[in-house]
C-alpha cells in the first residue's frame, strides 16, 4: 500500500490540529501531544470538536474581531463571498466556506484561524523536539492523539518509528474504531497505548458516539493478545447519566482483567472546557453543564477500581 519514497519522513504528511507541549495527562512524564484531524466517532461530549472533521476548518472568534469599520481584510480576501463583516463583528457562512484559509492569512487580530495544518513527519518532530530536554528526565516523550490518530496509519507509523529512532518514548491515544490492520500497522512502534471504553452497550454506544463498539472491543482484544510488549492504559471518560455507573466500570474491568499488559485503568471525569470551541467552528454544543459526574460518584467508582484491580488502578 505504501510505495517506496512516499512514506519518507519529509514527504508523508497529515493534517495536524495542534501540538501541545507540557502535556501532562496523556501518558507518563512530561510529553508533547500531537493532535491529528479527523475522527471515526462523534461523541456528543467531545471536548476537541475541531479535531472531528478530516478537513481544514475555519474557526471564527468573534471576541477578537476588530470589525469592518477599521478592518474588513477577510471579506476582501475571500474568493467565495463566505464572510460577512459588520462594523464590529464577523460571521462565516459555513455553506459557502471552502476552507481555503485565505481570510485567516490576512486577519490582523487572528479572529479567523484555521484548524488543521498539513505537516510532514519531519516538521512535526522538529516541533516536538523543541523541548526534548524535558522528556528524558520525566520518562516522557511523544503522544499521538486526535481525532483518531489511527485513521492515518501510514503517517502514524512513520512518525512514531522516527520518534523512536531519535530516542523518544512513544504513546498513542485511540478510541479504537478503525480497521484492525490500521491498528496492527502502528502498534509495533508504540510503547504505551491509551484507549477509551465509552459505553458497554453497543446500541447506547451508537446513540452517543455514532458507532457501536463491537469492532472496537475486538480490536482491543487482538491488540492485548498480539502485542504483549506494549503497555496498555484503559480509560473511561465518565459522563454523568451516560456511563458513570458500576455496571459499565465492572464490564470494562472484566474485559481487561485477563490481560497483564493492560497496566492501568483510569477514570477521567468529564469536563465542559471544550464547550467554547463548538461555537468557534459553527457547531452546536448540546451537553450544556450536564455530564459532569458528581464527586461522590467518581470517588465511589475509583474506590471500586482500587478494590478490584489494586495496583492497576491509576493514581489520578
Amino acid at each position: 500500500m505504501w510505495e517506496s519514497g512516499e512514506d519518507s519522513p519529509d514527504r508523508l504528511t497529515a493534517l495536524v490540529v495542534n501540538i501541545q507541549h507540557f502535556s501532562t495527562h496523556d501518558g507518563p512524564g512530561i510529553r508533547s501531544t500531537v493532535f491529528l484531524k479527523g475522527c471515526s466517532l462523534s461523541c456528543k461530549w467531545c471536548c476537541n470538536p475541531e479535531s472531528l472533521s478530516p478537513k481544514p476548518e475555519l474557526a471564527c472568534n468573534q471576541e477578537r474581531c476588530i470589525g469592518g469599520e477599521q478592518c474588513g481584510y477577510c471579506s476582501a480576501a475571500c474568493p467565495e463571498g463566505a464572510i460577512l463583516v459588520t462594523s464590529n463583528n464577523v460571521a462565516v457562512d459555513r455553506e459557502r466556506c471552502n476552507g481555503c484559509g485565505k481570510c485567516a492569512e490576512v486577519c490582523p487580530p487572528r479572529a479567523l484561524k484555521m484548524f488543521g495544518r498539513r505537516m510532514t513527519v519531519t516538521e512535526v518532530l522538529a516541533a516536538v523536539e523543541r523541548d526534548q530536554t524535558f522528556y528524558g528526565e520525566s520518562g516522557g516523550g511523544l503522544t499521538l492523539s486526535g481525532g483518531e490518530c489511527l485513521l492515518q496509519p501510514g503517517f502514524a507509523r512513520a512518525l512514531l518509528a522516527e520518534a523512536r529512532k531519535r530516542g523518544l518514548h512513544t504513546a498513542i491515544e485511540t478510541a479504537g474504531n478503525v480497521p484492525w490492520n490500521f491498528m496492527a500497522m502502528v502498534l509495533p512502534q508504540v510503547d504505551v497505548m491509551l484507549h477509551d471504553f465509552k459505553l458497554s452497550d453497543p446500541g447506547a454506544h451508537r446513540d452517543w458516539t455514532g458507532a457501536d463498539n463491537r469492532r472496537i472491543l475486538e480490536n482491543y482484544r487482538r491488540a492485548y493478545e498480539g502485542f504483549p510488549e506494549v503497555r496498555f492504559v484503559a480509560r473511561i471518560p465518565l459522563i454523568r447519566g451516560v456511563n458513570d455507573d458500576v455496571a459499565h466500570v465492572r464490564a470494562v474491568m472484566d474485559f481487561i482483567r485477563p490481560y497483564p499488559n493492560v497496566a492501568e485503568l483510569e477514570l477521567l471525569p468529564f469536563h465542559n472546557f471544550g464547550a467554547g470551541k463548538y461555537e468557534l467552528i459553527g457547531r452546536c454544543w448540546d451537553m450544556g453543564d450536564a455530564g459532569t459526574p458528581h464527586g461522590e460518584t467518581v470517588a465511589r467508582l475509583r474506590a471500586l477500581v482500587q478494590t478490584e484491580l489494586g495496583y492497576r488502578a491509576a493514581a489520578s
Binding site: Q20, H21, F22, S23, T24, H25, G29, I30, S32, I66, Q70, C71, Y73, P108, P109, R110, A127, R130, D131, T133, F134, E137, S138, G140, H271, F273, D289, A315, S316
Partner: protein, 834 residues
C-alpha cells in the same frame, strides 16, 4: 448563561483562604499563631527614627575622624541609648524600634536632603495599601533635627552632583537641581542604599562570639609595624573593637530588661521564659553559642546590628542556615534538649521578627520602586558542601517546613539545586512550592559553581556560595563589592532606537544618541545597529555612574560590623565600604542590571523584522504613525504587531534576537574593563522596576500601549509564550546562553495553575521540570501556583484575601498590598495550562 468559574484544583494556600483558616497548615503552635495575628493586624508600618536621631547625634561630634571609627562610635551611641523592649510571647528578642509591629529604619546619611519633601509625599499617601505612617512628632524630628544637619551632606545629593553631565542628564533629566526624581531611562539605585545585597558571616559570631573578634583585632593592633598603618589600619581595628563593645552593650541591656521583667511577671511559664531570655542574652553574642536557641538569638542580634549599621538593598541576608546551625541543632536534639517542633517554633519566631522590619526609603519617589514593602532576607538551604557532597541535612527540612504554615513571605527561602540533589529534598521543595506561596525559589548550582570558577575562585569556595538578595549570590568571605550598579531599561533603549534618541513621555527630550530616522533604514541590520548603539551608550553611562559611586562612598560610609565578619577585610585591616575594590584577594564583581523589557525589546524587534522587512505587511510610516498615537485609530497595525512571532515559543530566529541583545551588553562590558582590570557582570533582574520602566516607555512595536509594564527578568512578555513552560524555558536558555564569564544571574518567573500539578503525579512532574531546568544551567526559577480566578477575587475583595502571598520578583509579597498596576501584571503572567 453565566459560565461557571472553572477551577479544577486549588493550592494549599487557596484552600486555607477559602476556608478562613489562620494558617496554611495546622502544625503550628498557638504562640506562633498569636504573634502572626498581631503582626498582621498591627496596622500600617511606621518609620522608626530612633536610630537616625542617635546616629546623627554621634556623627556630628566626630567630624574629621576616620570614617570607620565615626561609624563605630555612632553604633555604640545607638547601642547605649536606643529603647530596648520585649513583647508578649517573644522568644527571640531585640528590635531597633520601640513598638510591636511593622517599622522601617530611616538612614538620613543616604538621602537626608530628600526627607522633608518626602514627608509631605508620604503623608499625602496615607490610606493606600502601601502607605507608611509618619506621626506629627516624626515630622517634627525630621524637620528640626535630621534635615538641618543632613541637607547637602547626604550621599544621594552628592552622588547626583558628582556625575558627569551626560550621565547625570540621562538619570535625573534637564533640571540640575533635581536629585530625587529619576527619569527611568536608566535607574541609579546607589543613593537608595549603603550596600547592595550582602550576607554577613553570622556563623563567625556564633562560633567565637564577639570575644574572639575583639581579641583578633587587639592582636592585629599589636602586630601593626608600618608607619602608615596608623592612617588606615589602626583606626579600622579600633573601630572593630568599639563595634564589638557596642553589640555587647546592646545585648546586655536586653539581658537586664528580661531579668527585670521576669521579676515582675506573674505568669509562671512566661517568668521562666523571660529568665531564660535573660540568661541567653547575658551569654551571647559576647561568647560562643552553646545551644541552638543561643545560636538563633545571636544570629538575630547579628541581623539587627547589621540593619542598624547600614541599609542593604533587599535587606541583610542569612546565608546557609542549614549548614552553620546544624551542629547546634544536632547536638541539642541528640542530648534531648530540643525537639524538631521546638526548633520549628524558634525559626517561626525569627521569621516573625523579620517580617516586622520593612525597607522604607524616605524619599519622594520611594513608592515607585519596590512594591509590597519588599525585603528579602534570603535563607539558603540545600546545595553541596565545599567537598562537593550533597549538603542537605535534617535542618534543611526543618527550615523548609517552618516556612510553610504561615501566610507570609518571610524569610525569602532559596533552595540550592544541583545534579545530585536527592529525590527526597526535591520532593519536599516541590510540595512546598505547590502550597502556592511562591516559596522557595530555586537556584542552580550547575550555573553558579561554573560561574564562580570562571572568575578564578577555587572549587571548594565556589561550592559554598550563599543565595543573597533577590536572586544573586555571595561567597561570603571572598566577595567584596558592596556598590550596586545602575540599571538598563530595555524599553527606553528600544524607544530611543526608534525615535532618534528621544523619549516621548519625558517631554520628547533626547536622552540617547542620534541614530537616524528608522524610515531611512533599508534593512533590519540598520535597525539593529541603531538599537545596539543606544544600548551601548546606556551601558557607558551606567558604568560611569558606578565608578562615581565607588569613588564617593568612602567619604560617606563605613561598615565596621560587616567588615569585622569578613575574613579578607580583617586580614587587610580595611573597611569594606572604603576599599571594596582594593582588598587583597577580594572578588569584586561590579554589576550592571537589566531591570525591565528584555522580552519587550525582543518582541518589538521581531515584529519589525517580520512585518516590515520579511513579510512587508507594514511600512515604517504605518507602524511609527500608529505608535505615535498610542495605537488610536491604528488597531489593525497593533493587532498585526500583537500577533507577530514572539519570544518564548521556541522560534529560533526570535530567540536569537534575545541572544544578540544579551551578547551586545556582555561584549561591551568585556571590551571595557575597569582600570584595575576587573570585569563587570550583567544580571537581568526586575525587582519591580519593570513597572516604573514601563511608565516612561511609549507604545512599543510588540503591540504594547504606552505606560504599560514591560516584561520582567528574562521572561517572555506577559501571556505571549503560549507553547507551554517547557518551550518557554528552552527559549530563555537559548536567548541567554552566552558562554561568557561576565554572565550574571537571570530571573525567571513561571505561573502554573494548581490543576496542572495536582496530586502526587503533579509533584513528580514539577520535580522533573526542575531537574530539566537544572540541566539547562539556567540560574534561577520561581513559581506562582495559583488560579487566575483567585487573584481576580482578591482584587474585588481585598479584605478577605489580605493574607494572599504571591511571588513578585526575587521575593514574595502580599497581593493586596500591591498597586493596581502590579496586580494586573501578576495576573497577566502566563498561566501554563496543559
Amino acid at each position: 448563561m453565566n459560565a461557571p468559574v472553572r477551577i479544577e484544583a486549588l493550592s494549599a494556600q487557596e484552600v486555607a483562604l477559602l476556608e478562613g483558616r489562620r494558617a496554611v497548615r495546622d502544625n503550628v503552635s498557638e504562640r506562633v499563631l498569636r504573634l502572626f495575628e498581631r503582626v498582621r493586624t498591627c496596622g500600617q508600618p511606621r518609620v522608626s527614627l530612633e536610630r537616625a536621631v542617635l546616629f546623627t547625634e554621634s556623627i556630628r561630634t566626630t567630624e574629621g575622624q576616620p570614617m570607620p571609627l565615626r561609624w563605630a562610635k555612632a553604633l555604640r551611641h545607638i547601642a547605649e541609648n536606643i529603647t530596648v523592649s520585649i513583647f508578649e510571647d517573644e522568644l527571640i528578642v531585640g528590635r531597633p524600634n520601640d513598638w510591636f509591629g511593622k517599622y522601617g529604619i530611616i538612614y538620613p546619611e543616604l538621602d537626608g536632603s530628600l526627607m522633608q519633601p518626602a514627608v509631605a509625599a508620604f503623608r499625602a499617601h496615607q490610606g493606600f495599601p502601601d502607605s507608611v505612617t509618619i506621626t506629627e512628632e516624626d515630622e517634627r524630628i525630621i524637620n528640626e533635627v535630621l534635615a538641618p544637619y543632613w541637607n547637602g551632606r547626604d550621599f544621594a545629593t552628592n552622588f547626583a552632583r558628582a556625575l558627569p553631565e551626560p550621565s547625570r542628564f540621562i538619570t535625573f533629566g534637564p533640571d540640575p537641581r533635581n536629585v530625587a526624581q529619576q527619569t527611568g531611562v536608566v535607574f541609579a539605585s546607589q543613593g537608595y542604599r549603603h550596600s547592595q545585597n550582602w550576607t554577613p558571616d553570622h556563623a563567625k559570631l556564633l562560633r567565637g562570639g564577639l570575644k574572639a573578634i575583639r581579641e583578633e583585632a587587639k592582636a592585629r593592633l599589636v602586630a601593626l609595624k608600618h608607619p602608615l598603618d596608623t592612617v588606615e589600619k589602626k583606626p579600622f581595628l579600633e573601630a572593630v573593637i568599639v563595634t564589638c563593645d557596642a553589640l555587647a552593650i546592646w545585648a546586655r541591656r536586653y539581658a537586664e530588661l528580661a531579668g527585670k521583667m521576669a521579676d515582675k511577671e506573674s505568669d509562671a511559664a512566661r517568668r521562666r521564659e523571660l529568665a531564660e531570655i535573660a540568661e541567653i542574652c547575658a551569654w551571647v553574642p559576647e561568647n560562643p553559642a552553646r545551644s541552638f536557641r543561643e545560636a538563633l538569638q545571636a544570629q538575630w542580634f547579628s541581623q539587627c546590628f547589621s540593619r542598624l549599621e547600614e541599609m542593604i538593598g533587599g535587606d541583610v541576608c542569612q546565608g546557609r542556615m542549614d549548614q552553620y546551625l546544624y551542629p547546634y541543632y544536632r547536638k541539642d536534639v541528640d542530648e534531648g534538649r530540643l525537639t524538631r517542633d521546638a526548633a520549628e517554633e524558634l525559626f517561626q519566631c525569627l521569621w516573625l521578627n523579620m517580617s516586622q522590619n520593612l525597607q522604607i526609603m524616605l524619599s519622594p519617589t520611594a513608592a515607585a520602586g519596590r512594591e509590597g514593602f519588599s525585603h528579602h532576607e534570603t535563607v539558603t538551604i540545600g546545595g553541596r558542601t565545599p567537598e562537593g557532597e550533597d549538603a542537605t541535612n535534617e535542618l534543611s527540612y526543618v527550615l523548609l517546613e517552618s516556612t510553610r504554615p504561615l501566610r507570609m513571605s518571610y524569610p525569602e527561602l532559596a533552595a540550592r539545586i544541583h545534579a545530585g540533589t536527592p529525590e527526597r529534598f526535591l520532593h519536599a521543595v516541590a510540595e512546598a512550592i505547590k502550597d502556592g506561596k511562591g516559596s522557595p525559589k530555586i537556584i542552580n548550582d550547575e550555573f553558579l559553581v561554573p560561574f564562580y570558577l570562571s572568575h578564578g575562585v577555587s572549587h571548594r569556595e565556589a561550592l559554598d556560595y550563599a543565595v543573597s538578595g533577590c536572586i544573586e549570590s555571595r561567597l561570603i568571605n571572598r566577595e567584596t563589592h558592596k556598590t550596586g550598579g545602575s540599571a538598563i531599561n530595555y524599553g527606553s533603549v528600544l524607544e530611543m532606537a526608534l525615535r532618534q534618541g528621544r523619549v516621548k513621555i519625558l517631554g520628547d527630550l533626547r536622552f540617547g544618541l542620534e541614530t537616524g530616522d528608522p524610515r531611512s533604514f533599508a534593512s533590519y541590520d540598520e535597525l539593529w545597529a541603531a538599537f545596539k548603539s543606544q544600548l551601548e551608550n546606556v551601558i557607558a553611562h551606567i558604568m560611569a555612574q558606578g565608578a562615581v559611586a565607588r569613588t564617593l562612598k568612602p567619604r560617606h560610609f563605613a561598615a565596621p560590623y560587616a567588615s569585622m565578619l569578613h575574613d579578607l577585610a580583617m586580614d587587610a585591616c580595611m573597611d569594606l565600604q572604603r576599599h571594596g575594590e582594593g582588598i587583597p584577594g577580594g572578588l569584586d564583581l561590579c554589576t550592571v542590571d537589566g531591570v525591565g523589557g528584555f522580552g519587550t525589546a525582543i518582541d518589538s524587534l521581531a515584529a519589525i523584522k517580520h512585518l516590515i522587512f520579511d513579510e512587508k505587511k507594514l511600512t515604517w510610516d504605518q507602524l511609527l504613525g500608529a505608535m505615535e498615537h498610542n495605537w488610536e485609530g491604528g488597531e489593525i497595525v497593533r493587532q498585526m504587531c500583537l500577533n507577530a512571532p514572539k519570544y518564548g515559543n521556541g522560534i529560533e530566529w526570535v530567540d536569537a534576537i534575545g541572544h544578540a541583545i544579551h551578547k551586545t551588553a556582555l561584549d561591551y562590558l568585556r571590551a571595557h574593563p575597569r582600570p584595575n582590570g576587573l570585569g563587570t557582570i550583567l544580571r537581568i533582574i526586575p525587582i519591580t522596576f519593570h513597572v516604573p520602566a514601563g511608565r516612561v516607555t511609549s507604545a512599543t512595536p510588540n503591540g504594547r500601549v504606552a505606560g504599560e509594564y514591560l516584561s520582567e527578568g528574562i521572561s517572555p512578555c506577559h501571556g505571549m509564550d503560549v507553547e507551554g513552560p517547557t518551550v518557554s524555558l528552552t527559549s530563555m536558555a537559548r536567548a541567554t546562553s552566552s558562554a561568557c564569564r561576565e554572565k550574571g544571574h537571570n530571573l525567571i518567573n513561571m505561573k502554573f495553575s494548581p490543576a496542572n500539578l495536582a496530586g502526587e503525579a503533579g509533584t513528580r512532574r514539577l520535580m522533573q521540570f526542575i531537574r530539566s531546568w537544572c540541566r539547562e544551567r539556567l540560574s534561577h526559577l520561581q513559581f506562582n501556583i495559583i488560579n487566575r480566578e483567585t487573584l481576580l477575587a482578591a482584587q474585588k475583595d481585598p479584605e478577605k484575601y489580605r493574607d494572599l502571598v504571591v511571588r513578585i520578583a526575587g521575593y514574595c509579597a502580599y497581593f493586596v498590598e500591591l498597586t493596581a498596576m502590579q496586580q494586573a501584571e501578576i495576573i497577566a503572567r502566563t498561566e501554563e495550562q496543559s
